[in-house]
Amino acid sequence: MKENIILYIDNQEVKADKGQTILEAARNAKIYIPTLCHHEDLCIAGNCRVCVVEIEGKNKLEASCATPVENNMRISTLSPKVRNARKDIVSMLVSEHNTQCTTCYRNTNCELQDLAFEYNVDNNVYISLVDHKYHIDKSSWSIEKDPSKCVRCQRCVRTCSELQHVNALTVAHKGEHMEIQTFMDLPLNEVVCTNCGQCVIHCPTGALTERRYYDEVWEALGDPEKHVVINTAPSVRVALGETQGMPAGTLVTGKMVAALKKMGFNSVLDTDFTADLTIMEEGTELLMRLKKALVDKENVALPMITSCSPGWVKYIEHMYSDKLAHLSSCKSPQQMFGAMAKTYYAAKIGVDPKDIYVVAGMPCAAKKYEANRVEMKSSGFQDVDAGLTTRELGHMIKSAGIDFKELEDGQFDSLMGVSSGAGDIFAATGGVMEAALRTAYEIVTGREVPFKNLNILPVRGLESIKETSIKFENCLPEWSFLNGVEAKFAVTHGLKNAKVIMDMIVAGECPYIFVEIMACPGGCIGGGGQPIPTNNEIRKKRMEAIYREDAGKKLRKSHENPEIIQIYNDFLGKPLGELSHKLLHTKYRPRNRY
């Protein structure tokens, strides 16, 4: 039902569709209206009142984010009445906010700071309401919560409930005591929180941040006894540029490697390599499950679901703890990397594993938690010592005084630095599925996956649940039991959508044999550790960049990666072999629902 509406914003004629808000109409017409509680990903709140505008014929101002357009509306976004009210509102928000900006992690990347600047707010108009006895919750491995910086926009609350269906954060109390709390105000590490960090990238200020580990990393880098290796996740290379003032979707693989080398990492390696390794293990695991189900007629859990996303893993451990058998037993690429670095890599370069310090550069908050899981010590040491977000990496680059934009491209170091395009696309939702199918189909049939240029387009993009199916025919003798099987696959992202799939499984109505689930909307390119802001437009640009990276590579299938072939020859033996089992696979544990 499209009905054209004409309205006038600041005397400019603007066309809009019925049902659009004034804010949407204004943005389409490139008219700026400031916002704070509004976020494209989330439902309308209309709480902060920063976006108020004047509508002719009305005495009260209206929140443009929440008011639908009407024909012939005449709107002013800049009248003195509007500007005075906005200035008052921002002044009030500042009075409630801990304005120690110089010590804040979000300094220079804070929406309240920008508004205070735009409206020339005098800090002294109102009396500070900050309670200086506030407590910063640092209990979680992943997320820190500083209530003194909260502006009560409820973006985190809406994120946690609408995007993730987790509801770790909620609004408590009312009036002057109103604040954002966990259940019973318990520490974050004691409540049902998946550590996905979506609250962090939706927070306009420094109230929710990732727990930072860069000081530990700088320490390690300065320690001559330590051999410090870093592995960078595929999605970091398409987002890191944003932290250095480059436009979204800039591919900075080479510059990133160069910067990390400058910072003093002994070896700069690629998580893409272990992404390829994951495909070998996970693809084989899937085929073995199918064999057990179809040939041995055993009762195995199908669909198998990916386990690369630690936010998703914790979600299923809490919410569907009786369905853990569906999870692939494979560790995530980060953890495979850690385990390989302190065994295979250590032996190859002749360094005692106790002196190896493994850093992971990730788009993720949950990866920090994952690195600290008790299961993740299969090398005999903590496999990954420190997890950094893309934002922290960006911070370290600035802190090192590196002129990022001017850097010459560097090359990943060898041994666990070579990767295929299949490893790259792990960055985007659908990537693991696509990479797995490229390899699994070829193992089974000896032929390339039947999609043009290996691009499995049905599983790409931001649609909430994506499906594809493949019919196996003329399989190699070992896999002949798959002849004629039409296998269905699904991909989803965002825990709200994960719930849909899980409920299908609970109801016994899940038609898929393999499902990819990522905790964050868009997959890792929209991860909780990515640069702020992140919205669909930016997700798309990062996504396009990663598919460009894949398309530009000669090597596009995990099983053809020479370093992968080498690691099996020299060390692991074969996928799902004894060593793989010990080092690359893990177990999950049921957790409380509440």
Binding site: T67, A85, Y126, R152
Partner: protein, 382 residues
């Protein structure tokens, strides 16, 4: 000033005879009668009742809800409590007629949590009311929903959120409840007294009802009188009365100020008694508090502000922070940490709150603040 006795008048005929009589009339005729009567909502916002019913009548839906707002929480207001204990039947008749006119099949009496003691008696009346509805072949069921004590839940959309099991926070409007209210269905929310008045209009006719009041405000209404008065309690008075007459009747001879319309209303100082009409422009919630010269208006205002800072739902900036700033700022002026001129900054702030807050709560806080600070400035400073 004319005292009236309509609302609490005794039941004179068999139970629900009036209801049966009204239910024989055409829906549109009833709506027309209400519009003509000029009856406005008695909860405080003063929206014309007939128009609200008409809007709900015009909205098509498989399900509509009719809610009676008995979340009486305005400080100094206790009229709905009186109605519900003395003449609950009139309330249910009002609900029944409203449901009939608007096409609602489910009714909810949203009762203030502190009024739990009434539940047993009210349920007895509801049982009888259901029996009558059945007799009339009229599909309408009423149940009681107990509030949990938040003042803001008196705001109709916050009330709806509260029934849905959410935090009691006002919604963005539009859509208005008559378009999409409880569980997204068209919903009519009327104050207790409004329903009784609506029933009275239907019973006595708009023409008769119109004889009461002024062109601006028709009919009579209940006033909760408290404070420094010799006659505290609920009194039914013809609308359009001026404050001087009111003080003459209810004051203790030393009245220096009257708070009209509860803490969200205005404070009228002695010099304005003659010209001030109670509830000018729209009707009021009906809370009237009298203060004599022994009272500190500073303490009175601090008390109001502490109430608002506590009872704001906290979601929108102007209300959540504004109420705290008014409270802290007033204290700062009193104790000398801010200059007296800071009061003007605070009055400017009340203007922002009035035009930019999300709901009536934040929008009306400035009324009492500005009127008290402007009229009793010395008391605020010294």
């Amino acid at each position: 000033m004319k005292k009236v006795d309509i609302i609490f008048s005794e039941y004179t005929c068999e139970p629900y005879a009036v209801f049966k009589k009204i239910m024989k009339r055409e829906k549109l005729e009833i709506i027309q009668e209400l519009i003509q009567s000029g009856l406005r909502g008695r909860g405080g916002a003063g929206f014309p009742t007939g128009l609200k019913w008409k809007a709900a009548n015009l909205t098509e839906s498989d399900q509509k809800y009719f809610i009676c707002n008995a979340d009486e929480g305005e400080p100094g207001t206790f009229k709905d409590r009186e109605i519900l204990t003395k003449v609950p039947r009139k309330v249910f008749i009002g609900m029944g007629v409203g449901a009939y006119v608007t096409g609602a099949s489910k009714g909810i009496l949203y009762l203030r949590g502190e009024y739990k003691f009434m539940v047993a008696e009210l349920n007895k009346e509801i049982e009888l009311f259901h029996k009558i509805c059945k007799e009339l072949n009229f599909d309408f069921q009423v149940e009681i929903f107990l509030g949990s004590g938040a003042y803001v839940c008196g705001e109709e959309t916050a009330l709806i959120e509260s029934i849905e099991g959410q935090r009691g926070e006002p919604r963005n409007k539009p859509p208005y409840p008559t378009q999409a209210g409880l569980f997204g269905k068209p919903t009519i929310v009327n104050n207790v007294e409004t329903l009784v008045s609506a029933m009275m209009v239907c019973n006595m006719g708009a023409e008769e009802y119109q004889k009461l009041g002024t062109s601006d405000q028709r009919g009579s209404k209940l006033f909760s009188v408290s404070g420094d008065t010799s006659k505290p309690g609920v009194h039914e008075l013809e609308l359009g009365l001026n404050v001087a007459d009111f003080v003459e009747e209810y004051g203790d001879g030393d009245t220096k100020a009257v708070q009209v319309g509860g803490v969200a209303g205005f404070c009228v100082p002695r010099k304005d008694f003659e010209k001030a009409i109670i509830g000018q422009g729209s009707t009021t919630g009906g809370s009237t508090m009298l203060f004599n010269s022994t009272r500190s208006m500073y303490r009175v205002l601090i008390n109001y502000l502490e109430f608002f800072a506590e009872e704001s739902c906290g979601q929108c900036t102007p209300c959540r922070i504004g109420t705290q700033q008014l409270l802290k700022g007033l204290k700062a002026v009193k104790n000398g940490t801010r200059p007296p001129e800071y009061l003007d900054q605070l009055i400017k702030l009340t203007n922002t709150m009035k035009i930019a807050s999300k709901c009536g709560l934040g929008q009306s806080v400035g009324n009492s603040f500005a009127s008290i600070v402007q009229n009793f400035r010395e008391e605020m400073i010294y």
